[in-house]
Symmetry: D2
Subunit: 333 residues, 4 copies
Amino acid sequence: MTLRFAILGAGRIGQVHARAVAGTPGAKLTAIADPVAKAAEAVQAAYGCDIRSIDAILASTDVDAVVICTPTDTHADLIERFTAAGKAVFCEKPVDLSLARVKACLATVSANKGKVMVGFNRRFDPDFMAVKAAIDAGTIGDVEMVTITSRDPGAPPADYITRSGGIFRDMTIHDFDMARWLLGEEVESVFASASVLTDKKIGELGDFDSANVILRTASGKQAIITNTRRATYGYDQRIEVLGSKAMVQAENHGTNRVVVADAAGFHAAPLLNFFMTRYIAAYANEIAAFVASVNGGTALPTTTHDGLMALALAEAALKSVAEGRAVKVTEVL
Amino acid sequence: MTLRFAILGAGRIGQVHARAVAGTPGAKLTAIADPVAKAAEAVQAAYGCDIRSIDAILASTDVDAVVICTPTDTHADLIERFTAAGKAVFCEKPVDLSLARVKACLATVSANKGKVMVGFNRRFDPDFMAVKAAIDAGTIGDVEMVTITSRDPGAPPADYITRSGGIFRDMTIHDFDMARWLLGEEVESVFASASVLTDKKIGELGDFDSANVILRTASGKQAIITNTRRATYGYDQRIEVLGSKAMVQAENHGTNRVVVADAAGFHAAPLLNFFMTRYIAAYANEIAAFVASVNGGTALPTTTHDGLMALALAEAALKSVAEGRAVKVTEVL
Amino acid sequence: MTLRFAILGAGRIGQVHARAVAGTPGAKLTAIADPVAKAAEAVQAAYGCDIRSIDAILASTDVDAVVICTPTDTHADLIERFTAAGKAVFCEKPVDLSLARVKACLATVSANKGKVMVGFNRRFDPDFMAVKAAIDAGTIGDVEMVTITSRDPGAPPADYITRSGGIFRDMTIHDFDMARWLLGEEVESVFASASVLTDKKIGELGDFDSANVILRTASGKQAIITNTRRATYGYDQRIEVLGSKAMVQAENHGTNRVVVADAAGFHAAPLLNFFMTRYIAAYANEIAAFVASVNGGTALPTTTHDGLMALALAEAALKSVAEGRAVKVTEVL
Amino acid sequence: MTLRFAILGAGRIGQVHARAVAGTPGAKLTAIADPVAKAAEAVQAAYGCDIRSIDAILASTDVDAVVICTPTDTHADLIERFTAAGKAVFCEKPVDLSLARVKACLATVSANKGKVMVGFNRRFDPDFMAVKAAIDAGTIGDVEMVTITSRDPGAPPADYITRSGGIFRDMTIHDFDMARWLLGEEVESVFASASVLTDKKIGELGDFDSANVILRTASGKQAIITNTRRATYGYDQRIEVLGSKAMVQAENHGTNRVVVADAAGFHAAPLLNFFMTRYIAAYANEIAAFVASVNGGTALPTTTHDGLMALALAEAALKSVAEGRAVKVTEVL
């Protein structure tokens, strides 16, 4: 069986998913939708698919699944409409910036018996999968501490920040999901400390650019997340898990493996500088996993519940910053 | 302008090139030829091209260029026929196992004013390109010593070895080309030392599995090549160039970037185990370079002359092993 | 001028300092004191110094300086007595487990115009000195985030834990000092999260074995400290400082630089497993710095004020764990 | 039993050995000899030993062993005289620059039933010992190829080169010994290729500054040695041994473990720049091994036979360079 896709939104991330769908055996890109004609045409030209409106796609009998890459404030509505129409849905994170809206959406999905996967791409990175596999195989024993270093090369534009929901909902949300996945136990409390250090304008927009978070489970396992919007040396994405028997870590990816050695020392290339380059395999793998789940009728690997929980951790982090104390997740859920 | 390709031979390497052609902007895969129907059909299914005979391709007006991936003993003939037909030719190495035949082929290509690129894929590996760029930029000063470590994970099957021309013509030939490229000066003499250490059968077939070679230019620059047919830890492909001002090295590629640390120490993954995985980017880059050259009317980056010279070094190496002395390249050319 | 030393206490750390003093040009080991005769005799045998009582050393005119390596609860008294006697004092951390006692001791030292250096040895580790030098040279721009990973290979014996003042006063205190040193700005608030994960007995003793701390300065710079009492792969001591222009990190020290590569991957040695091996150069350097300061009449590089501040951070951390909130340092000082 | 040492020669290497002897349990530095009074006095001042003439040391009943650190052309004579006097002898390499003289010396040592250890310090480097231990433990299976990269940061002064016997007898001799030790089988033939690339003056003195050597045993095992007198990035000392089951390698030692990452990439320190810093542990270990052997009555770990064989490989290498062919070791012995 071939899963026939439409992609809603032909922006940067829509193009990433178009490429992934086109390259996935068992998947076919049938249509693209975007109000910006040029964007849709570019995808059409590259992959030979139709251009249709979202409403047309909703009514299309030759579309089995959609990938939602539209602006965040449309996600929940589209999830509800497309699951009601019986389409399988892959939705870019987040489901919504409002917890209440996410909960309502989940209820609708449940009523629709919808299949919805939320795009936490990092779970599909080959290195992070190897980390998780080592944990699951018992290689490191009991998980005790998860350390996530997640630093962007540079801040997004001001208008993106304004719409993003802030650093915790936009950037840390990936790390919250990673932490939940790797801890293997739900987070009970969140402490977060956030600053504006790289650019005053980010503060003027009500956001932060530098943050550290400590997550804690009921049994005392902990995760530390460290974020910044400016790492001059590239996109810094490291994960380390300390267990009772061993430690496992995923190291960074440089732009190449070349070293120059001179009188000043040894010089290697900076890191891959962009999430699309760094996570190119992850984006392909997550679409392949979605196809395999939908075609195979198995449970989706990441769900709207995961989307809800990651957003709840972001809410708790914001409350923690405001109140200077550890916040229980139950306080915000 | 779009360069329309046919691929001659749908075996392992033919499939690699089909993928590269299909993924290269400005290139189009028009036809595939292979006497094994299943092999040709697999390529057709994957990329939607025609299946044609080699003779039909020779006569096709909708084919501008061919990639020769047929058995080695057909290469020289096909180069001659397709250049005579005015097609641009990309030919897998080697042109032929006989120096005399290669020379004759070169003369025909020249008479045909043919465009022929020989597939020394490693020159297009992003890391090795960065090494070369560092040399060309003057970063390391004058090149003094080139060190190439090139070890296969395991030996090919006996029947391949029999047809291969032996380790120097089959395996070291890539390193000979690398050495010429990086030394920036023609090799004057070759000393080679070869043994059978991993498998007696290789010796019974008249071949070697372990070899070291010292190349030397007129000005005294040297290159050392070390080969083996068995590296248990993966496909070991390292290059190091020592210059008067600095040293530059390209390190190996592991299968992932994950490290497990326990009481026994730190454990990282073995190397990528296969030339197609290790050099996947190189294969894409070389086809892109071929397309750019043919479309742009510029000089091809690797030529039949390069094929000739690498084979001459292999011949000199064989003579050196037999006679226990450094052999001048002029003795075999 | 040669600085004549007596060492008070011939235990494990006393022996480290005896060796450092004996090996420091400009320093001479004159006497050792220890109630355990065998311990004192071992030092005497190794370095040819006298064995004297602490009272005798206090009265000795041929002793210019003392290194206090006695049990923690004697430190403050000895500092007061020896500064009153005009001796220069090098005291192992901590000055005392009680902030009030430390403050009283500082007042006495001040009244005595005493010279007292507190042994924060890590400031004298060559790698950490290089990190600090990079900061001071402006190489990384403004300091934004300090990350300290500090993990012991295994927990100390129960009786040591009982007397130690707990993980924050005993182990994290080194990291608190490092953080203050590297942040370049006083810490304003402390959040700490501590668990018992490696050994229930540690919890029964009222202590923790796993802790994460976020420190924050007035301008929003942050430091993260992560501690555990069990790292199976050795003594894990990493420091990383993110600045506006660059990041600088000090990597771990393996027991050797040998790698074995086989079909399972690449295997390197575990880390140096003991603070005395890992910091052997630091111990030598700190005594040399003390000698240089006392002989040269310059300011001591680490002072009782540093001891006080590190202890205050430990107190704040304990209060934070108890109350689940960020604690201002002014609340405990 | 304490082994009482005299050191003959208080130059650079004499000082290294004085320090090693002084720091070795079971050893005592009794006397130093040097015609340059200042040099001898410096050692006396540092370690409190006597200054005596060589003749006086020969007659001293309180001296059990000598370390010969005098100019090369005196080594063989001193070995003969001191073994005749019943002293244990540790002699810096080489025994002599003439093979005939070395053979004669060996005969005398044998007649004297002398105990003579030749200072191939690298065998006592902790990393190289770990490499050898891995081989001896069967970790890598059968040894197939040994690769030794040995590059000096800079050339010695012209007058040293003149007296040194040339690059093969002076520098490569260490690598020849390493290769013999690691191959575990005697070398049968030598091919060497040498150039002058870093400094014409070295060529004018009749020496080379860049060399590659292939050694080969009867069973076809091979060792490759690559030398240069100029490595701008420090003292490059790497060893790699490929076996049938695994590969083992000893990596370089940087001056520190600090990395700075900025927009240009990751920057680590250059290598330790001097043989005394790089091999400080090896020098201490070799004296300790000498003391243990002499005191324990066991076989010395490196012998005059090892000195003879390493020199024979150097002779064969020189002959190979002159004649452009592989030279059998039996041709020069």
